[in-house]
Symmetry: C2
Subunit: 116 residues, 2 copies
């Protein structure tokens, strides 16, 4: 069942995810540090997307490599992360662009609907 992306990730009509796992993770970390499992649940709640474990931990490694997040010391088995300043800045830019482009698309949709 790996061909799911063809006909849609849940409710959406077959487009990819509106935002990659990276953006979702950064958004989730934006208000407070969280460990991997908590991220999965938080993202499922606010974005309606359940990240597969492979996706999550690979994305975490990538984001750390890019300097957008950093690990926080911990005593137990949890491995919490927090945003770096660079990560916050990247997220802000990303989300602003995402909003801007989405607005353009929505405006065009109204326009197109009126024409047909």
């Amino acid at each position: 069942m790996a061909n799911d992306r063809e006909q849609g990730n849940g409710a959406l009509g077959g487009l990819g995810r509106y935002a990659g796992p990276g953006t979702l993770i950064l958004s989730s970390l934006a208000d407070s540090e969280k460990h991997g499992y908590a991220l999965t649940m938080d993202i499922a709640e606010f974005a309606g997307v359940r990240l597969a474990p492979g996706t999550l931990y690979e994305a975490l490694a990538r984001l750390e490599r890019q300097g957008l997040i950093e690990p926080v010391a911990s005593t137990d088995r949890r491995r919490p992360y927090r945003l770096t300043a660079q990560g916050a800045e990247a997220l802000r830019t990303q989300l602003a662009e995402q909003r801007r482009v989405a607005d353009i698309g929505l405006r065009r949709l109204e326009l197109g609907a009126r024409l047909s």
Copy 2:
């Protein structure tokens, strides 16, 4: 130089693209039908993203297979496409979600900034 996605697609800080090619194409088609090359230029203008030819034509084939766009008859070598009703609906849902999630992220960013 295929490792570019690691450190960023142009100005963005290493996150993926805020919206997949599919969403960008549908947004571009939302107000009027366009052929492939026109899509490339329009998307570059309103989204600041230059889709590689491979990306573009594969995405077009995918979207057509999914019934979100359909070809329009043409006399010359251009192959224009337009949104289907299903495509318009999928785009509307997608963009609304995109905005909603982006807003949550931005709100959290403000919150997090105030705390630190």
